[in-house]
């Protein structure tokens, strides 16, 4: 939609000559075909399978097979058993999102508007960690937050942590891990929209006696809204479903819904429950995204 919005309409121009009409009519569909097939095979079909698995008879088992009994009860059962992990997922990723915004917005602004010739280097610095695997980056945080590491030592010395205090295996570690791992997803879209911000608009605002704060609220923030919304979504959605950070940096008390789904599918072999939980997560995220987009009221993201 956003792409189409910028295409000039052909209303004012003379209509193009109607040559080779048949082919040009087919062309858009042909262009759509690879993407559509991809989506169908790797998204739509698995989604239908997952939906059906979530309604299987929970009394079934791997060796006897599962019967389709439209067991909608799987949903309330799953929610009842694992609502703490559910709410924890949203809580942690919301806190991480706030932290990431506090760090990411100034960062994106600085890169886009103030970095000058350092711009490309700084952009590379934001993207470079993504060249290593997600797992390796999270394992690196284990070393950073280690009980015998420099950071914990420093915090103990300044009495922010008790003598036996630790960061690893606490909610703090999980939230920090989430913040770090998904930060680039927030920064890059933000950068893209802040980069297009015309500095002359800010000059105009100050000419009209707007304080810097007011200029930010009335000019910068509204103009960066598309990037902000895209960034928060790109951050929030994977962060909520993440299970690596809770697994490696947390303890069972910090497990998020992703850990539960992982264990349902791989360890407990409770496929109906795993599928139901996956769908609940998807529905909850969709609902949040929907409300958010409605309230934020931007059409440029969709």
């Amino acid at each position: 939609m956003s792409a189409l919005a910028h295409v000039p309409t052909s209303a004012g121009k003379p209509a193009p000559p109607p040559v080779r009409r048949g082919r040009s009519r087919l062309l858009p569909y042909l262009l759509l075909l690879p993407g559509a097939v991809w989506l169908l095979v790797f998204f739509a079909v698995p989604l239908v399978q997952l939906a059906s698995a979530s309604l299987y008879d929970p009394a079934g088992s791997l060796s006897t097979g599962y019967a389709m009994t439209w067991a909608f009860g799987n949903y309330p059962d799953a929610l009842q058993a694992y609502w703490p992990q559910f709410s924890r997922s949203f809580l942690y990723s919301a806190i991480a999102l706030v932290l990431a915004l506090l760090m990411g917005y100034p960062l994106a602004y600085a890169i886009a508007q103030k970095a000058g010739r350092w711009k490309n280097l700084l952009l590379v610095a934001v993207v470079a960690p993504m060249f290593t695997s997600f797992l390796v980056r999270t394992l690196a945080w284990k070393t950073i937050l280690s009980d015998n590491g420099a950071l914990v030592g420093l915090l103990r010395d300044v009495h922010l942590l008790g003598p036996d205090g630790r960061l690893l295996a606490t909610p703090i570690a999980v939230v920090l891990g989430l913040t770090y791992n998904f930060l680039p997803f927030l920064v890059l879209p933000l950068y893209a929209s802040l980069e297009r911000l015309d500095p002359r608009l800010l000059e105009a605002a100050s000419d009209l006696y707007a304080s810097p704060l007011r200029a930010f609220a009335k000019v910068t923030l509204p103009l960066s809204m598309p990037g902000l919304i895209a960034g928060t979504l790109l951050f929030f959605i994977p962060a909520t479903g993440d299970y690596i950070n809770a697994e490696l940096l947390g303890t069972p008390n910090e497990y998020m819904i992703g850990n539960v789904i992982d264990s349902a599918f791989l360890v407990r072999l409770d496929y109906p429950q795993g599928a139901a939980l996956s769908f609940l997560l998807m529905a909850a995220i969709l609902a949040i995204v929907f409300v958010y987009l409605r309230r934020a009221g931007t059409e440029e993201v969709l």
Binding site: G60, L62, S146, N148, A169, P252, L266
Partner: protein
Amino acid sequence: MRSPLRTLTRRGLLTGTVGSAALLATAGALAGCGTKGAQQTEAGCKSEDLSATEKEVAFSNWPQYMDTDEKDESKRPTLDAFVAATGIQVTYTEDVNDNNEFFGKVRNQLAGCQSTGRDIMVLTDWMAARVIRLGWVQKLDKSKMPNVEANLLQSLRGRSFDAETQLAVPWQSGLAGLAYNANVTKEIRTVDELLTRPDLKGKVTVLSEMRDTIGLLLQSLGHDPAKFTSAQFDDALNKLKKAVDSKQIRRFTGNDYAPDLAKGDIAACIGWSGDVVQLGFDDEKIKFVVPESGVMLWSDNMLVPNKATHKANAEALMNHYYDPAVAAKLAAYVNYICPVQGAQAEMEKIDPDLASNPLIFPDDTMLSKAKVFMALDEAQEKEYETKFQQVIGA
């Protein structure tokens, strides 16, 4: 933007049509769904053996579970010796990282009686028990494996999931017991100390492998992990839950406890003997403890899955690894418990220190304390695993 008058736009109509068609199709597809049972029988899923014409075998194993040449990591001396002696080419893949994950990987093929492309897969006892229960593996021909017949340790014969010792051949065995880092804590001797000693609070990890953790706890309560009741299981689980609630236990881990133990982030843990032996080479203050109450013995087993087409070649390979000289070379590299009798004598020639290491060649007193976890049926497995997962937080 959109004119309020034109409520029915072309886009709206299209989305509506496509949407409802998709919904209908989905509902239709759902109604026809359900899965067939994954249970296979010997008669229902027959496998062909092409070993006579195809001199090859595909071997799926865990990472770092095979000896490599000191100078050239890509060479595997014991495996190369097999290729040279028999002319059977081995495709060796290290693609088993986790029993559950591997199960997920081969589940669909084996449930549908299709080939996985593997002739040997190596799985831990309980997972081996599961695939055997599901009828997913082929019966081996003992007459083609005289070395296995002669040299397999007595305590690993006739295990509950393979009473006639004809489905699973141990690759390596190991113990699950206690381990601690003497740089950060004093000696620990019992499971109770691990779970209650105040100076260890928050510095203890426990294995997320239910059989190992619960097995040790069952023993600490005086129960037998090879034969226990549901009430005894709950007993052990409650004991674990108390330690979780009191925040004594920091994390549930797989192999990843090893670096934490080495760094001292955790002071003590339930761990595996092989890991601890290897950590001990770098830092002799990291020690493995066999608790007074008993220790868990597990094995990783070679299995030939259904539809594997090189069973005889696979049997030849298993036979090769039960030659004591070969087994000793392998054990010198991987440092797990060697399931081959006679390998200890061969080890004397390679490294006398290792030959006297009870964590590689356990003596009879240690073996008498070692128990193998009971084979569970599907309902028990689901019940226990679910209860255990609830305590460990997922």
